[in-house]
Amino acid sequence: MGIEVEKKAGFDTESAKEVVKELRASFVAGKTKTYEWRRTQLTAMLKMMDENEPQIVAALTDDLSKPELESSIYEIAMLKNSCKLALKEMKHWMMPKKAKTSLTSFPSSAEIVSDPLGVVLIISAWNYPFLLSLDPVVGAIAAGNAIVLKPSEISPSTASLLAKLVKKYLDCSCIKVVEGAVPETTALLEQKWDKIMYTGNGRIARIVMAAAAKHLTPVVLELGGKSPVIVDSGINLQVATRRIIAGKWGCNNGQACISPDYIITTKDYALELVDSFKCELERFYGKNPLESKDLSRIVNSNHFARLLKLLDEDKVSSKIVYGGERDETNLKIAPTILLDVPQDSLIMNEEIFGPLLPIIMIDKVEDSFDLINYSGAKPLAAYLFTNNKKLKEKFVEKVSAGGLVVNDTTVHLAEPSLPFGGVGESGMGAYHGKFSFDTFSHKKAVLYRSFAGDAAVRYPPYTAGKLRLMRALLGGSIMGIIRALLGWSKP
C-alpha cells in the first residue's frame, strides 16, 4: 500500500505566510462574520456530502479499507448531524447572553458576546480522516472564523478528496485545505494563528503547543490514551461483550482514540469473559476474521509493524487466548485477545490503537480504580460494566478521564450535549455541538454603564467616610450601605 503522498509543489514558509495573509484579509473584511455566510457554508457542506457519498466512501476504503457502513455512519452521518445541529442552533448560539450585574456596579447592564477568534488552523488525524477534519471545521465556521485545514498525510486519498471538495463547495477565500506532511505542517505552525486545534498523539501535540506558545495562540488538543474497560460480574455478559466489541473492532478495528484499549476484570470472572468474547467475535466476524469485510485494515506498514512488535514480545505472545493471526500483504491482524499480560510489557505501556485487547485480572473489582488512576496518564475515556449502583458512583467519583460511560462504550461521542475532550495526557479543551462553537469563539464581556449614578466615593481625596462606604458597597448588602451612609460602620 505504498501510496506516494503528493505534496503541493514547494509549500514552504512563504506559501504559509501568503495563505494566512489572504485569510486574514478575508476575515478583516468581515466575510466570515455574517450569519448568511456561515449558513451558506454549512449548507454547502451538507450538499457536498449528499452529492459525493460514494467518492468519500471510496477514499476511506482506499486509505483504511473501512467497511462501508462505518464510513457511511461514523464519518458521513455523524458529520451531517453536526452540520444540521449547527444550522439549527447557530442563530441562538450567536446571540449575546445577558449577565447578571450586582449592586456594586449599579446601575449597569451586562452581556457576553461571542466573537470569532479570527484565522484558525485545524490539524486532523488519519483514523477518521473525514469526520475529524470537517467536524472541527463546522464549529469554526459556525463561530465565524477563516480556516486552514491540514488533513493527515497518512490518509492521502481522503486528504486529496477533501482538498478537491472544499475547493468546489466552500468559499476558498476563507477556507483552505493544505495537503502535505511534516515540512508543510511545520511551515503552517510557524505562522500566527488565532487558535489551533490538533487531533492526534501526545508527541506531536507538544510540538504544536510549543509552536503556538511563540504567538500566544490558544490550543485545543484532542489526544488519546489507554481507555480502560472495567467489567464487573453479575451483568448481562452477552450485551456487555457485544458493546465492547462494537467499540473496539467495530470502530476502525481498534484504531480510534476512544476505543476500549484494555480490560480489567476479576480473576473469578476472566475466563467467562474470554469465552463470551470468543463466541461473539465469531458471530460477528466469522471463523476467518482476516477475510471479514466488516473490519478495517491496519492503516499502513509502520503501524502494522508497531502492532506486531507489541504482540510478539516474549512475555506477551504466550498470553494470546484468541486470534493472533496476521496477513502482512493485506495489512490485516485478526481480533486478538490476551489474558494476564505483565504490567511492564510494551502492550500495557503505550496506546494500542489496533485490534489487540489485553485483559488484566485483579482480585476485587474496586481495585481497578486505583490501577487506572495510578497508570500515569489520564485516558480520553473510561468504561464500566456493572449493575452495582455503589460501584457506579465510586467510578464516576474516582476515575479521572476525558469522559466516562457506564454500560456501553464510545457512544458518548455521538451526543452533542456532552463536551468531548481529554484531560492531562489525553488533551485539553473540548468540542461537539455548542462546545465546538464556543471553542472557536472569544466570549467578550460587555458592561454598559450610564452617566447617572456617579458615586463620589469612587474618587479621591479619600476619607475615612469614603472607606466606610467602600466597604459597604463591596460587601453588597443594602443594610450595610445604609449604615455606612449614616456613619454607623467601621472606617
Partner: protein, 479 residues
Amino acid sequence: MEESIAELRETFRSGTTKSVSWRKKQLRALLDLVNENEDSIFQALDQDLGKSRVESYRDEIGVIKKSAAYSLSCLDKWMAPKKGELPLLFFPAKAEVMPEPLGVVLIFSSWNFPITLALDPLIGAISAGNTVLLKPSELAPACMSFLTQTIPRYLDNKAIKVIGGGADVGERLLELKWDKIFFTGSPRVGRLVMTAAAKYLTPVTLELGGKCPAIVDNTLSNPSKAKVTAKRIVGGKWGPCTGQACIAIDYVLVEEKLASTLIEMVKKYIKRFYGDDLKELKSISRIVNKHQFQRLANLLKDPHVAASVVYGGSVDEEKLVIEPTILLDPPLDSEIMNEEIFGPLLPIITLKNIEESIEFINSKPNPLVIYAFTENETFKKRILSETSSGSVTFNDSMIQFLCDSLPFGGVGQSGFGRYHGKYSFDTFSHEKSVLHRAFYPELEPRYPPWTNFKFSFLKLAYAFDYFGLILLMSGFRKS
C-alpha cells in the same frame, strides 16, 4: 521544592481537597486571614506601592473578601453535576457533566495588585478542589513576605503552599509537571510559561495586558456628562496603582475639536484628586521600583514625546513618583504609543472623526479592555462588532473587574482563558462527561455482520428519523 510538590500530589491523591467541607473551610479561613490582617495588608501595600487605604481596600482587600464570600455561597451549586438532555434514541440513559479538580496547580501572580492577583486565582483553585502552589511576585516584596508568612497560619499546609524567591525560582517551577498553570503578567513571560507547559501538555490560563484605549465622542459637549467622563477617565488611569494595571486606560482617542475640552477637564480632576505638587501628591500610588521608573522616564526622553507633554511630566527619582502626565498627540511611532505604558502617562490622540478610532484600535494588538464613552447606539454596535478585545466597557472604567458574572480575560496578545466568579471555578476544573446506559433495550443493528437492513436502520437512527425507523421495522420500508 520537589518535596513540596510531591506532598501536594500526595494530598491531592488522598482526596482531601475534593470534599465540599474542606473547600469551604479553606475559603472561610482565607476570609479570616484577610479580616484579621487588614492592617498588615495595608502596610505591605503601602510599602511596596504607596497605595492608600481606600485604594488598597477597593482594589485588593475588598475584592478578595467579595470573591471568597461569593464562592462560598455558590460552591454547592458549582460542584453539582449538570444534567444533559439525551435524544430518544439513547433511552433509557442519563447524561451529565461533572466538574472535577485538575490536580496540582501552579499560580504565578503579578506585582501591581499583589494581594488580589495572588488570592483571587487561589480562591478559584480551592473552590475547584485542587492543591496549589502559589508563587507571588518578588517585585512586591512586602506583600510576598506577608503571603509566605500568613497563608501557612490559616490554610491547610499540606494542600496550599506559597513559595517566595525571584525569577530563578519561577524558572525551576516551570521545569516541573503541573496539572494547570495560571499566569498573570507580561506577554514575554507568558510565552515562556506556555512553552514550558507544552512539555507536559499542561493547560494554561494567561492573563496578560495590552494598550487599553478609551474612546471619547461628543458626549463631551454635554457639560454634566463631560464631567462624569473626565472623572471616570482620571479615576481609570491614575486610580489603579497610578496606571500600573492591565486594565488601566492606556491612551485616549478623541476628536480634534473636543481635545482641549477634554484636556482641561482631565487637568481639573487630576488637581482635585491628587493635587498638583509633585512633592505632595495624595491618594495615588508610586512606581513600584527603579527599573519601572527608569523605563517610564525614558518614554518621556524622546524629544518629540517630551514636546507633546501638556501637563505634568515631572519626576522624583528618589521617591519613585511620576506626576500624572498628559500628552497631546505624541508621534504614533514613538515607544510610548507602541508598548503598554503601565504608568501615569496619558497620551491623548486626536482624530478628525471619532469613527476612525475603530481602525486605530484595530491597527494594534488586541487589548484586554476597550473603554468607550458614548451614547450613540450605532457607534456602540460598531465598536462591539468591529473590534476585538478581552472585554468592552461603555461609559466607565475599571468597574467591570467587580462584576462576578462577567468573564475576565484577554484575547490574542492580551491572553487566553478567563476567571472571576464561576469562571474561576471552571478554569481550575475538568468538565468530565458521564453517560449512563442500561443493558436493555438492545439494538441488534449495532453489530456486524453488516446487512442492508442494519445499514438502513443505522442511517435512519443517526438521522433521528423515528418515523422512518418504525416504517423500516414494520416492513413498510425497504432496506
